[in-house]
């Protein structure tokens, strides 16, 4: 039995990579992927804790997260496509027309 610590550490590493990806990368698709990475890091942590406390609610929760993530991807990708059509780029730094 792998101790839960390893899952948590892996989850934290994945989350951190996701955060760094969002903060550092300018490509909208990459940022999107990083967000997915963070969601999955969270999922990993949830199922890990769920197995520790011997409860299915963690797994059920994860299913919801996956479903929501799928919906988010659908919406997000549609937005990116639309942005690309207007701006001819998917560099998020170029999308600053609403700055104060």
């Amino acid at each position: 039995m792998i101790p839960v610590d390893y899952y948590i550490i892996l989850s934290a590493i994945l989350f951190t990579i996701g955060v760094l990806g969002v903060l550092i990368r300018r490509n909208a698709l990459i940022i999107f992927m990083s967000i997915e990475l963070m969601l999955n890091a969270a999922n990993l942590a949830i199922v890990a804790f769920g197995s520790v406390i011997q409860n299915f609610s963690g797994q059920i929760f994860v299913f919801f997260v996956i479903a929501v993530a799928a919906a988010e991807v659908a919406v997000g990708l549609a937005l990116i496509v639309e942005i690309f059509r207007t701006k001819k780029t998917i560099d998020v730094d170029q999308m600053s027309s609403m700055k104060g």
Binding site: V19, V22, L23, I24, R26, I31, V92, D93, M95, S96, S97, M98, K99, G100
Partner: protein, 722 residues
């Protein structure tokens, strides 16, 4: 209760109707008069006054049925404050019914006369709308006079006292914007003001006396006051009686406040007869008679009262001798006769005073109304003459106008004559008259009767009443007696002078030449009054068994010594009166005044000037009172009010302070630097803040993400540390 009372007390329930009848009359005329004809208006007013007379007669019957017992009719609760309990109570006793009979009786005759007089007057001055107003005022006067004589307390008497004063003011200034000839002038309105203001001084005295009475006796009701007369300090009663005397000098035109009465002749002649001769001016005499228990308690005050009356009697009689205006002569004669009455009641001869009051009401009303008839006749004659001249050449008219100016220029003190217009004709100026006995025979004969009655020749009414006063005076005070006797001499003289000037000789003016007799509505009341002037003496003849008035009044004012005929006193006064008329005939009758001839009395020089100029009392009062008063008023208005208060205090102090406070203090500091600065600062601050915060919204998605991360770290850190 009402029914049972009316059974026990006869017609006492009519007492309030003395006031209600005239009030109903005036309300009908005031509300519907515009739809009535002149006859109807006059009839309504006369019937209202006549109903009051009928009520007075029934009340007198009731009083005599009750053996002169004083009766009261309580109409309504009035004032109940602290210890002051006053009801609206009518007092019906022999004294008040006597006054009621005189007021409503003479008043009704004058109402009827006024229908004829005012008919011509309003047409002459081309304002027929005032006919109704005149009768409304006249009825109001009757109502107020009834309140005065029937009041059961000093306060109710005062209400009537002020009411008649108001009516006097309204009626003196009846033609407030026109003079005698219908030209624009404020003389009448000034005369009204003078009457009102002079009376104000008197009313002040009355008020102070009323306050003192309440202070001393704790009541204003007559019986309650008189019951305690001997329990209180005599000095207080002296003060009360003397303050009352001030009121009397105002209302009854005695020295020093008599000056308003001659000017009050500016009112229409029926007013002069009713208010300023027969009734209102006798209110002072009534007041003293009513307060008899107070006056009888203090002989010093009585002496002052009789002296004031006697001096006034002589003083006014001398002025009457020097007047040219027919009504002014009668006005001063009224003052003089009022002096007789005041002197009489001052001596405690209340019956004699009331007797003279009644007979004087008859013959003086007669004389005034006849004088009004003479004036109307002169106006008709003038109108007639004017009309004739319209067909003549302008040249002739101018000449006549010039002549009139000259004739009017004689008398600088006469208000009417000296107005200085081109066409000056004064229908009341006796110098314009003459020979009227042929053109106005009825007026002539009734005037003769009035003149003889006033002069005090037996057996006319004036002789008996005046003789009674003189007899009382001869027993009380030689000074008063001789003053009054000389006044009686002057009375006969100026009346003789008037008769010769007005009715005898030849016409001195074309108006007198064309004068016409007055209609019956005017002459019939004159004849009735003439009859009363002849027979009035029967009320109280100085023979045993004939002291009717004395016995009648003694129920109210106590036992009065009934005097017989003193041949010495009666003889002296009769001889003097006859002598005076003879002298007047010698001066004016033997060789009548010609046109534009000066008065023969002018040879008396300064003496006549004084009499003609009313001894310059008006000028003296003008110098002593009116001019300083006006100067002070002008000073107060111009300097204190305008320059000090308005220009300096308001403009400089108040307005400048206000401006300074509002401009510097409020506008600059409070508003601009306070409120505005706060509001603007708030705006600027939020602008600055938002400008700073705007920088955060840089549009870079990644920096937003970083903020979210930092926020999450902070929250989590906080949660962990906690």
């Amino acid at each position: 209760m009402l029914f049972s009372e009316s059974v026990n007390t006869g017609f006492l329930f009519l007492a309030p109707w003395l006031v209600f009848f005239p009030v109903i009359g005036l309300l009908i005329n005031a509300a519907f008069g515009h739809k009535f004809s002149e006859r109807t208006i006059g009839a309504v007013a006369s019937v209202a006054s006549g109903a009051a007379f009928a009520a007075s007669v029934l009340l007198a019957v009731t009083v005599s049925g009750a053996h002169g017992e004083a009766m009261r009719w309580r109409l309504a609760e009035w004032i109940h404050v602290g210890s002051l309990n006053l009801d609206w109570t009518f007092r019906v006793d022999s004294l008040s019914t006597t006054m009621m009979l005189v007021v409503s009786g003479v008043g009704t005759l004058i109402h009827i006369y006024a229908i004829g007089y005012m008919h011509e007057d309003v047409r002459f001055k081309s304002d027929p709308g005032r006919f109704r107003r005149f009768f409304v005022y006249l009825n109001l006067f009757i109502a107020a006079m009834m309140i005065l004589v029937s009041g059961d307390s000093y306060l109710m008497l005062f209400i009537g006292w002020e009411g008649v004063g108001l009516c006097s003011y309204l009626l003196v200034g009846f033609w407030y914007e026109l003079d005698l000839l219908g030209r624009p002038s404020w003389a009448n309105s000034n005369a009204g003001n003078k009457a009102f203001i002079a009376n104000r001084v008197g009313d002040w005295g009355f008020l102070i006396a009323s306050f003192l009475i309440f202070y001393t006796f704790g009541s204003l009701q007559f019986d309650a006051v008189f019951a305690k007369v001997h329990e209180v300090n005599e000095g207080l009663i002296v003060a009360i009686t003397l303050f009352l005397l001030i009121g009397v000098t105002g209302k009854s035109a005695q020295i020093p406040l008599y000056v308003w009465l001659p000017d009050a002749m500016a009112g229409p002649t029926p007013v002069s007869a009713l208010i300023h001769a027969a009734t209102m001016v006798t209110a002072g005499v009534y007041l003293i008679t009513r307060s008899a228990p107070l006056y009888s308690a203090v002989p010093e005050a009585q002496h002052i009262v009789s002296l004031v009356g006697a001096v006034t009697a002589l003083f006014a009689a001398t002025i009457a001798t020097g007047q040219y205006d027919i009504k002014k002569v009668l006005a001063y004669s009224t003052i003089s006769q009022l002096g007789f009455m005041v002197a009489a009641v001052g001596m405690g001869a209340y019956v004699a005073g009331m007797f003279h009051l009644i007979t004087h009401a008859f013959f003086k009303a007669l004389l005034f109304l006849s004088a009004g008839s003479v004036i109307l006749g002169m106006e008709r004659g003038h109108h007639h003459a004017e009309h004739a001249h319209h067909h003549e050449e302008a040249k002739g008219k101018r000449k006549i106008g010039k002549k009139k100016v000259e004739s009017g220029g004689h008398d600088a003190h006469d208000d009417h004559a000296s107005t200085g217009h081109g066409e000056v004709f004064d229908p009341g100026d006796m110098r314009n008259m003459g020979g009227l006995r042929k053109t106005m025979p009825v007026t002539f004969w009734v005037y003769i009767i009035g003149m003889v009655a006033l002069s005090g020749l037996p057996p006319f009414a004036g002789f008996w009443s005046k003789d009674e006063i003189l007899l009382d005076a001869s027993r009380h005070s030689q000074v008063v007696y001789w003053l009054l006797t000389i006044a009686a001499f002057f009375t006969a003289f100026y009346m003789g002078r008037q008769i010769w000037m007005v009715f005898f000789g030849e016409a001195r003016h074309e108006a007198a030449e064309h004068a016409e007799e007055s209609p019956r509505v005017i002459t019939v009341p004159l004849m009735i009054l003439a009859g009363l002037s002849v027979l009035g003496g029967l009320l109280n003849l100085p023979f045993d068994g004939f002291h009717n008035l004395g016995h009648w009044l003694e129920h109210t004012i106590g036992e009065v010594e009934a005097l017989g005929l003193n041949l010495q006193v009666a003889g002296i006064s009769t001889v003097l009166a006859a002598l005076a008329i003879l002298i007047s005939w010698f001066i004016y009758g033997r060789k009548p005044m010609a046109k534009n001839q000066n008065d023969p009395l002018e040879s008396l020089g300064i003496l006549f000037k004084g009499m003609n100029g009313k001894w310059y009392i008006d000028e003296l009062y003008g110098f002593l009172v009116v001019t300083p008063y006006k100067t002070i008023s002008h000073f107060l208005a111009e300097v204190i009010d305008w320059r000090f208060w308005h220009d300096w205090f308001h403009e400089k102090v108040l307005m400048a302070t206000y401006n300074w406070v509002s401009e510097i203090g409020l506008n600059l500091y409070a508003d601009q630097k306070g409120i505005d600065a706060f509001a603007n600062g708030l705006g600027a601050w939020s602008q600055n803040l938002s400008a700073a915060l705007r920088k955060v919204q840089n549009g870079f998605v990644r920096s937003y993400a970083l903020s979210i991360l930092l926020g999450v770290v902070l929250i989590l850190g906080y949660l962990l540390i906690k």
